[in-house]
Subunit: 163 residues, 2 copies
């Protein structure tokens, strides 16, 4: 297999993964491209490699920066910005986890809190309260676990499971 084919395969798989995550395909593909690139790339190079527009490239590079999945590199005597990826997979996983906690867990916890104000003694209201309590309990435990994980390093994390 030659480089261009392998690149294409890698980028498409990463993009796929991204879509399954509520991350835009372009964002995941840019991350993929930066991952396999030995040196930082400019917006123009990204546009060129992935055949995407300037606006798209710019937006999604910003998004990667805000997630902490890519960084800027300034090159002496150059005006352009260059970007490179976070390549440590454990860091990547933690950073993605942090964002997902924000977008997924937090709204559920907020809802569970709000919904505690539910009045009434009907069968429906009782069942509702029961389920809501359970949801909240579980979400809080998960939150706690995620916080611990995000402080751990990779080998500690995996050791938790082995045996």
């Amino acid at each position: 297999m030659e480089l261009p084919e392998a690149k294409e395969r890698f980028i498409q798989a990463w993009g796929q993964l991204g879509s399954n995550w509520g991350v835009s395909k372009a964002m995941a593909q840019i991350h993929a491209l930066l991952l396999i690139s030995p040196n930082p790339l400019s917006t123009d190079e990204i546009m060129e490699e992935l055949n995407i527009s300037r606006g798209n490239a710019n937006m999604n590079v910003r998004e990667l920066l805000s997630w902490g999945l890519a960084y800027k590199k300034f090159v002496l005597g150059e005006r352009k910005e260059y970007f490179f990826a976070e390549k440590d997979m454990w860091e990547v996983a933690k950073k993605v986890g942090r964002e997902r906690k924000k977008r997924e867990l937090e709204p559920v916890l907020k809802m569970a809190e709000d919904v505690k104000k539910l009045k009434g003694r009907s069968k429906q209201a009782q069942e509702f309260r029961k389920v809501n309590k359970e949801v909240e309990r579980f979400a809080k435990k998960t939150e706690g676990a995620l916080d611990l994980i995000s402080k751990a390093n990779e080998s500690t994390f995996f050791k938790w499971f082995i045996r």
Copy 2:
């Protein structure tokens, strides 16, 4: 807060969560509705409560069944099928995890395997191989962890993290 408002809030939050997961909003909303319902519901009741079409309701109920997030209940002397949710949050989490492993981890592992056939000694090819190895290593470890988790029960799981 009265029941209809709380229901709406719960269903919308669950639907939101679903969208962030590559699960269709309707599927998540049906699950939410079944979660807070004290008794199994028919397709017609689901359509009515969520204002969705028969086709949509049917498709997504099937999907919930296939994920193991809902079950059928046959009522004596009734022809209609009734559905109820898996309400154990740990079970829900495990079942979602299992599906996601299938849709997310497996394609990445497949890609990493394919891409090992990459030839060449260029700087690009070398960096590519390095990153790919790292991705594969991490994905395999994650797969192992998920397999262990899916065999554990909730308290075992959370105990892994505490302290």
